[in-house]
Homo-oligomer: 249 residues x 3
């Protein structure tokens, strides 16, 4: 197995944030056309599917294989890079170590046996009737408001083309409505609403830049999918969160 | 009872900070000419009288009544507003809920029974012989210095027109003297000095902007009053702190 | 004993940081040509020798003597000064108190009996065969990287003119190499390498500005000396750290 690659620290750092929001170890699938990471949190509620196209790299030479890595340690190393620095990866297949070079700094990362890492999820190909596109900052603001009163949130789409995020607290309630003026796009075939854990939504939303366009795919009592891309489309993230059972209003 | 009002988030936020420095719940007296909040901390040492003139609001429609509110929750909501955002209040008298709207965000605040809130203080109309006017930053710096050595502070005014803030620690002492060059104004009919808890002074000083003009009214072994205004005079704050018994030097 | 002196807050603050990195109390030797502080940490591993030339002061009038001071309290007071403020010292020899004036603020610091303070070290005049000069930021970055994997670090110089800082963790390793392109100067008579505690290196490196030129003097299984100056050479710092016994690789 070969894996020799160079990438801007900002690109790889931002990409991995979407995975480390859910898990601390993962399998990286390496192919000649890029990397893919799929992961699900221990409670099987939040999932992520990250694809880094080979074009996201300055240099890329790899054939097929799987690397088991500690994301905590990998992100610590990448965090050593300045904003414009390049991060260089070179796999030593014999020792199962990944050499990471940033300027004069060389870090030798011991890989983890991929079989010891939690099995990857199959992210289901659901038919979700509502697709809303908005900015990361809009989701962030709505979740922050919901956090004031509750630890779960109702998220839904209206046929009229609106996104509704609402939370009921013990005494107080919050409702954020984004209508067609606020949204980048809304395609809602039928009203959709589900209940989600705020912890998971916060984790998944955390790595999203405020000016990133995010697609929200929703259904009635269905999982929500969040899709966004970075680095001019060379990095693609799909998140999915399972709904909680709707409590009686 | 009617209360429909719109106000810049910065104005209402800064105004409420002067109250939440002392208490976490309060009664808001609503009249057609504005709002008034009076409160005293549980130990009966620190008091505040806050007046928001109707002119501080962009829109104001209210008649007489009292709202019992949790300041913690009210300030959390207002904290959701961006610096230029407007905050809109609408009382639903039937449900005793206050609807707070900021952009597309609607927060429903459950009011508290005013009778369950600590009784409001009568802030006495004392005849204090010394009035010093200085900048918020001067008070802040003197209190920070006093905090280095003690948890109480002597604060006094000299007939010559000086403000003295001094603290005696176990080994070290601090004295800050502001004379007529440093002060904006000093009218001192007789020397005045009293001992105060630094905790209370720090709490009350915290919300004051560094470039705000603050009037300090003092007497010999008497309470201190701090007076300042915000929003071009549409918001007025009077704080009072009871003195501690002077320990023998 | 006389000690009346005025100095810019930044100069005295930065100078004392090099001492407070190792100890919380120290003896200040006062002479007519300046101040000197020597100190060693309780474990006898890290030492500092700080000299402040009289020229570092705006005004300086002193004859010989020793002041015992709490660095914590002295640095708290100096921390009250704004960036451009002057700090004025005046010793009251009778009361053994040091009066410190910053603007209208007067702090009275009780001195400590010098005999109660840990004895000062004799910093040995070692013959170290390697001298590397680099920027503070280079050392800082290397130590931060080493901290990712271990609590001790190998630091060495190569005859070819390179500085190597390496750490071996339980699973991962780090190595930072600075060659002649990265270094300001390298004079290495023979290869030198020793093992040091990262805690001590981090403490000593902390107060060094990123653009300060630092001389590293090293030998084989020998202490390391760090030398740097501030305030156009009017402040000189020498640090020394004893090596740890090299563990078998």
């Amino acid at each position: 197995m070969t894996f020799d690659a160079t990438i801007a620290s900002g690109v790889i750092g931002d990409a991995l944030d979407s995975v480390s929001a859910l898990v601390s170890e993962c399998k990286i699938h390496v192919n000649d056309d890029g990397l893919e990471i799929r992961a699900v949190d221990p409670a099987n509620v939040g999932m992520v599917d990250l694809r880094l196209d080979a074009d996201a790299f300055e240099a890329y030479d790899a054939d097929g294989g799987v690397l088991g890595v500690s994301l905590d340690r990998l992100e610590d190393v990448i965090g050593m890079a300045g904003s414009g620095d390049m991060v260089q990866f070179a796999l030593d297949e014999e020792t199962r170590k990944l050499h990471i070079t940033i300027g004069g700094l060389e870090y030798t990362l011991a890989l983890i046996d991929p079989d010891s890492i939690r099995q990857e999820p199959d992210i289901p190909d659901l038919d979700l009737p509502a697709t809303i596109i908005c900015q990361g900052s809009d989701i962030s603001r709505a979740l922050t408001a919901a956090d004031l009163v509750s630890d779960h949130v109702r998220m839904g789409a209206r046929e009229a083309g609106a996104l509704e995020i609402a939370a009921d607290g013990d005494t107080d309630d919050v409702e954020v409505t984004l209508d067609s003026d606020d949204l980048l796009s809304a395609t809602v075939d039928e009203d959709a609403q589900s209940l989600f854990s705020l912890d998971y939504l916060d984790s998944i939303e955390g790595p999203i830049d405020s000016d990133t366009d995010v697609s929200l795919l929703m259904g009635q009592e269905m999982p929500v999918k969040l899709r966004y891309s970075m680095a001019d489309g060379d990095v693609e993230v799909v998140n999915m969160i399972a709904p909680r059972i709707q409590s009686e209003g």
